[in-house]
Amino acid sequence: MKIVVCVKQVPDTAAKVAVEGGKVTWGDAPLVINPWDEYAVEAALQAAEKGGGTVTAISLGAEEAKEALKHALAMGCAEAVLVNDPALAELDTQGASRVLAAAIRKVGGVDLAVFGKQAIDGDSGVTAAQTARVLGWPAATLLASLSLESGTLKGERAMEEGRQRVEAALPAVASIVKDYGEPRYPSFMGIRKAAKAEIPAWTLADLGIPTPAAAVMWKEIMNPPARQITNEMITGSSPEEIANKLADKIMEEKVL
């Protein structure tokens, strides 16, 4: 069984992200593996462990994205591939999906490609489904559970209203949500292995596809306006007094 997991390198969730001179900056905050992708790696590893197979991690990004791949290797992935080409600087999710689909094809013989729910930089949450469409594979997205049995994927999708039980024939694309269960920590051995790993970098020429045109473009990026609020602390000599004052304020806001 051959499983691929797609991981992205992003600024840490605690980073103070801001726009300076028209560019996105995050000070000296570290770049990390997209937190949602850790769940994807966990699901990929568990599927490989149960079904007897290996996991290859793929990241599309610049040289520094190798760090995300090393994290995936340290968690237990067998191999990692970076897709890096200067022509890919201005990709939209449609383009990223075409490139990731081409990389998954180049890996060859893949039964399952696992994605995170969302990348926390662009916050798009569409790449898994879009890649599935390019590959012509089923898109079993937002899975809270995942099992593979004789060529069939079974899982539970987390929708707003509850869980939808789904089945799809392999090869398939899956994306994983947090209910799946906590991702494992990299092991000491894993970290050592990852530090030494040679990570090949593929270009568009290696993938044999043209540069995808970007339909969606970020015209402008800006710091959000400061939240215009006046803080008002409600005080009183008893919980009842505080509660009554607060209740009056809430009623005045006309939000109920």
């Binding site: 798009s124 469409r133 898109a139 999708r157 089945e167 209910d179 970020w218 990026i221 959000p224 919980p239």
Partner: protein, 346 residues
């Protein structure tokens, strides 16, 4: 025809999600500006009744694929049916609500139509027929103005970001039936289980949330048969969440939580608000025993009125709060529930 604005009506088991009507109302505003009509696209089985409501919210026309084969939501057939219709109708814009289904139907359609999707938009303006969409990125730490150069421009609208849609029951329109395209069904649906909270967090107008503070009340004694420290903590948190639940019930609110509360096993993950939980923008958000970490803020900072109840006057949540109470949630909440009941005549 190229100035038509379409709205995709998302429904679950025959009921439209309220955000779908927000999409119709925004489509109406855009269409008025570019001089085109509004088409609502309704897919499902036994969903013809939704057409009337779509007219009331501003649609001129409904494209209806009503077919037993569309009974359960599955992304392939829903997207393919929409794509087939869009190839005929060539809309300039298709608006979707941002939810689990809206995002992926839009995503797939964007691939088939060789265009693009702009997800989770909070503001939209037109420059000619070009949509300029504003969307929060980096968990709301930044805003991006985004355009789509291809057609149709597919945009998913953040739920509740565009205000309450207006309804006019005297409006009507025409229904055109379209065929379901179901041959591409790759994902089979074998069943459903409904989740605990029936009120969806993302649709909720009022949310009361609890954090780690729910388990922090020293004089609260767990029953003797609970000996494990972890279980004692969970038991305490449940007493806290009971108080939160009572306030929520009084206000008709949905129940939210911080990640710390979820990770500690106080409440299921489906309630988590934040960067790796749900992004919500209710009219009223009451945070109880939540410190207000940046990742929590990412999920709730666009709420209209924020109330914070926290023992620690230095908690970052107070910086976001319109009203703050420095106090113990175990003291404040029962009194607040009582005070709200009196005012709401309950």
């Amino acid at each position: 025809m190229a100035n038509k604005v379409w709205a995709y009506i998302d429904q679950f088991k025959g009921a439209a999600t309220p955000a779908s009507w927000e999409a119709v109302a925004v489509a109406r505003t855009l269409a008025n500006q570019i001089g085109g009509g509004v088409t609502a696209v309704i897919l499902g089985s036994g969903v013809e009744g939704l057409a009337q409501t779509a007219f009331h919210y501003g649609a001129d026309e409904v494209l209806l694929a009503d077919d037993p084969a569309l009974a359960d939501y599955r992304v392939d057939s829903y997207a393919s049916t929409l794509v087939a219709a869009a190839k005929v109708g060539s809309p300039a814009v298709i608006l979707f609500p941002t939810n689990t289904r809206g995002r992926e139907v839009a995503g797939l359609a964007a691939m088939d139509l060789e265009s693009g999707v702009i997800p989770d938009v909070t503001e939209i303006v037109l420059e000619g027929e070009q949509v300029v969409a504003t969307r929060p990125v980096y968990a709301g730490k930044l805003l991006a103005k985004v355009v789509c150069s291809a057609r149709p421009q597919m945009v998913t609208l953040r739920v509740r970001a565009f205000g309450k849609p207006e309804m006019d029951a005297s409006r009507s329109g025409t229904v055109t039936k379209i065929a379901a395209v179901t041959d591409g069904d790759k994902v089979k649906v074998t069943g459903y289980s409904e989740s605990e909270g029936r009120l969806s967090l993302t649709d909720a107008g009022v949310i009361v949330s609890g954090g780690r503070g729910t388990s922090n009340r020293a004089d609260l004694q767990p029953p003797d048969d609970i000996t494990d420290e972890k279980q004692k903590e969970i038991w305490r948190a449940q007493q806290g969440f009971k108080l939160i639940g009572e306030l929520a019930q009084t206000l008709g609110a949905a129940l939210g939580a911080s990640r710390a509360a979820v990770d500690a096993g106080y409440i299921p993950y489906s309630h988590q608000v934040g960067q790796t939980g749900k992004v919500v923008s209710p009219d009223l958000y009451i945070a109880c025993g939540i410190s207000g970490a940046i990742q929590h803020q990412a999920g709730m900072r666009s709420s209209k009125v924020i109330v914070a109840i926290n023992k620690d006057a230095e908690a970052p949540i107070f910086k976001l709060a319109r009203y703050g109470v420095v106090g113990d949630l175990y003291d404040i909440l029962p009194a607040l529930t009582k005070a709200m009941k009196e005012r709401l005549g309950k």
